[in-house]
Symmetry: C3
Subunit: 377 residues, 3 copies
């Protein structure tokens, strides 16, 4: 299970973001940088918070929790993809982790809220933290850039990420579950994702005037079912409950890309990867499903009443949103300090700002392209 989650972080998130035609190096490269940094930093932060006898425990569970923290930061990265320097990114990761760890501590330890797949504490938190940072760093020229788009190959690279996320999502939602709950988490996530994928194709085609499918939806909205079932995955929601959540999630996410994202853009929330559609709104749906499932007594209640559990689920969702907005605002302010550098307008969504490009050293002597490769392409 741990290896599956690890694959999602490095291959899944890394390649999912390669859809930008000029930002492939930055997507998969800085994804690796941020993830490797967060694995250490989150282990340390969580270690301090949950320390016993002045010793930080280092085991598979703490590595898994660090992977979850990395997922949240990478979701936030999705919102600001192509709009920051690498230093700004690392600073963002540095600042996000304390907020994330504290929020998770409030939600799971204080409120005893249930969220087995981290839909609230990872997805909602990461999405709205990132969106808030993106809002703080807003620059009008980002919206006009002709570089913010895909090409045929970059879309296929992105599908590598999408498919790995899709396949391993049942492991993500069940990794921290125990006993029968783990079993349920696998099957419910699998059902929700399957329903969500089929619905996404149908919705995407319905939104196009010629009935064609949109690759952005296939890459992203097919995964919304995994997010939306995350809070309730190990509960007794029944197969039809999981399918229903998947259907709603696919619809919500496709509508998000088609309607909500352009609307948010006008409010200066420029969301490069559409994290609101894949993580934000489906995560909210997951939180609401958690409240409903608590009221219906589909989960372990301990000595609480269903109503009390539902209230704490609701409270955890609101606190998560609140801390994400607060943390994102503070982080956004700090990221604007000149010391971290800032991209020039023409460097937005462009690897050449941060990467040595192949062929740079040959700039002066133009080399002839072998004819067969031109044919081949």
């Amino acid at each position: 299970m741990f290896q599956d989650v690890h694959v999602m972080i490095f291959v899944g998130f890394g390649f999912l973001m390669t859809f930008l035609k000029l930002y492939g190096y930055g997507s998969v490269g800085f994804n690796m940088l941020v993830a490797a940094f967060v694995l250490q930093w989150a282990t340390l932060m969580r270690g301090f918070l949950y320390m016993e006898d002045n010793t930080i425990n280092l085991d598979i569970k703490s590595m898994l929790s660090a992977d979850f923290a990395a997922a949240a930061v990478l979701i936030s990265y999705g919102a600001v993809l192509g709009k920051t320097t690498p230093v700004q990114l690392v600073v963002m990761a540095f600042l996000e982790i304390p907020f994330l760890v504290v929020n998770e501590w409030i939600g799971t330890v204080q409120f005893q809220a249930l969220d087995i797949g981290g839909s609230m504490f990872v997805h909602v938190f990461g999405a709205y933290f990132g969106l808030t940072v993106a809002r703080m760093l807003y620059r009008p020229e980002a919206s006009d850039s002709t570089k913010e788009g895909a090409n045929y190959n970059s879309d296929l690279f992105s599908m590598i990420g999408s498919v790995f996320l899709w396949m391993y999502w049942p492991s993500f939602n069940s990794a921290l579950a125990v006993g029968d709950g783990r079993y349920r988490a696998v099957i419910n996530t699998y059902l929700s994702l399957s329903a969500c994928a089929v619905v996404t194709f149908a919705m995407s085609s319905a939104f196009d005037k010629d009935g064609r499918v949109n690759m952005v939806h296939v890459q992203n909205a097919t995964l919304a079912g995994g997010v939306a079932v995350g809070t309730t995955a190990d509960m007794m929601i029944q197969p039809w409950g999981a399918l229903l959540i998947g259907i709603i999630a696919g619809t919500l996410s496709t509508v998000g890309f088609t309607v909500v994202q352009p609307f948010l853009a006008r409010l200066k929330f420029h969301d490069t990867c559409g994290v609101n559609n894949l993580h934000g709104m489906p995560g909210l749906l997951a939180g609401v499903a958690g409240v409903v499932a608590s009221l219906l007594k589909l989960c372990e209640l301990g000595d609480r009443s269903a109503a009390v559990q539902a209230e704490f689920q609701m409270a955890a969702l609101f606190v998560t949103i609140g801390i994400a907005l607060l943390g994102g605002t503070i982080t956004g302010i700090i990221l604007q300090l000149p010391v971290w550098g800032k991209l020039q307008s023409e460097e937005l969504f462009d690897d050449r700002a941060n990467w040595e490009m192949p062929g740079d050293e040959d700039d002066c002597e133009p080399q002839p392209t072998p004819s067969i490769i031109t044919d081949a392409e």
Copy 2:
């Protein structure tokens, strides 16, 4: 094991088919659509057939069986790749599953035929079902299309699929095996694949007048060893038996691509991915190997004599072919109904028929390609 098979379905089959230079979205995208649809539909169909106490069991084994069913449908998809609308594809999947489930029920429950890796019930069935559908949908212009070909990048994407299939094939052939049989299935498949891969390179080079290797063979024929050992993988066929099967499979498959496929094309069996070479003929070889292994008493016979078991193995193979041809014919007739739509000639093997392309919205204002990217490509 289940996750490995899942990876084969979504990454393996999905990317293996991306070799078409203009059909990468369709390959990996519709692969996901079909697989997600079949996972649900096959679970339901199998659930009805094997229902106990009016309850459909939903567990890892039923998810694994659904993955096997998805594999069969995706093999059929390989035969018609680029020649159907997405609606036709889903209808094909819808119709194929009942035939597949009934055939498997006859073979495993009624005949007690052994086929641990599904070489007959998945590969032979899927290949000849698909080929028959392709024959029914035959259009001469498909054979002349200049779009039906690879380019340098599409071949590399295809190798992602090929390599993942190659690696995880031991899991496919052993997932349903138990005890020592599982162990044998892993090792026999591993040996057969290794021998097959080496032979494929040698044969491919031998077939070229300049001794060069053909990428199509490497992508496909290297995998034939996994199919060909599928029926006997858990039997006591000995390492040299597995190696022998792999050597024959690699030869058979390479010959298939070089000689048989052009011949079939003249009979109007247009086989886009060459599924007859990778799944059809190696699957027949697996079936014959199963008959021979039964005669040699290399398998669990229960209270049957070796001859009786061999007869039932043979019967299962013939019934599989028969139901595949019948099912494919009926499905082909239904798919020609105008209600499902039909591709125009120029839409064959072309993503633009079904997908919004990146850059569509910018059609009017031609954007300058940044010079360095031209260099880089």
Copy 3:
């Protein structure tokens, strides 16, 4: 664990080498050929050496050892990538395995040296064997080839390999460990890799006059932490020990690419993939770390004193280097025999020498590229 290592061999090494813009087929294709060949040949050779009762044992452990042997040969392949015919490659693999097996037998059985992740017996051996072969096959025109470079897509394909290697390295270093040692091997490798990745980005940026990151470093040097901790991974080196090794490894490897590789090239050691930087020097570091850890009594010493164990660790490292140089020299001499063929100068780093290219048959009639695909690219 076995499957993880298998993925590293076929996907990891295969795609890592696809960075050459005109040698993608050869990288991933011949990687598969060599690996499939070595899996069989190494199993046989090791089988003879460790035979009991005239029987060769075939189990998961022997398959794992065969995968380790394949890793060593593929590292050597990295040094000569693009500079050999496929026949030369297979001959090299054929000759390398006996040296490798004997060296490993001396090190582990005679010297009882500890090297759980194979940093000496796999990485150091493979790197210096390959470098020596490359030296023997040296041709000045290889250094001047304009074909020896990456492009945007080939670098992204290479990142697929890099990321899979990075993720599964903890499995590589722990696959042969037992009990608590396995647990330590996973966590130490994970820590070393994380530190190494972050340091690599920093160092890479520091070496560029404009502060940009170099993709070659990200693809390779981020992995050096896994090599460098390989010998001591299961020892009680403490988290800070693992982090320290990772930091040194990332620095060493980046310096290797920037300073050492150009220097070696002037000595006619032309190292296509830079295996000295990723496997050679970090492997030496691992060997030294093993000596230090022995002296500090961080490992199981049995009835030896710490000093004796340290001496045998040192001896194993020197013997490995010696046998690699000797074996590489002999192999290099044999590879120059005309019977294996030889690449023409213009065939260096060029798939067209060995592969049928897509579109070859259409050479005469130039086909119009559909406009949208030109846009899309």
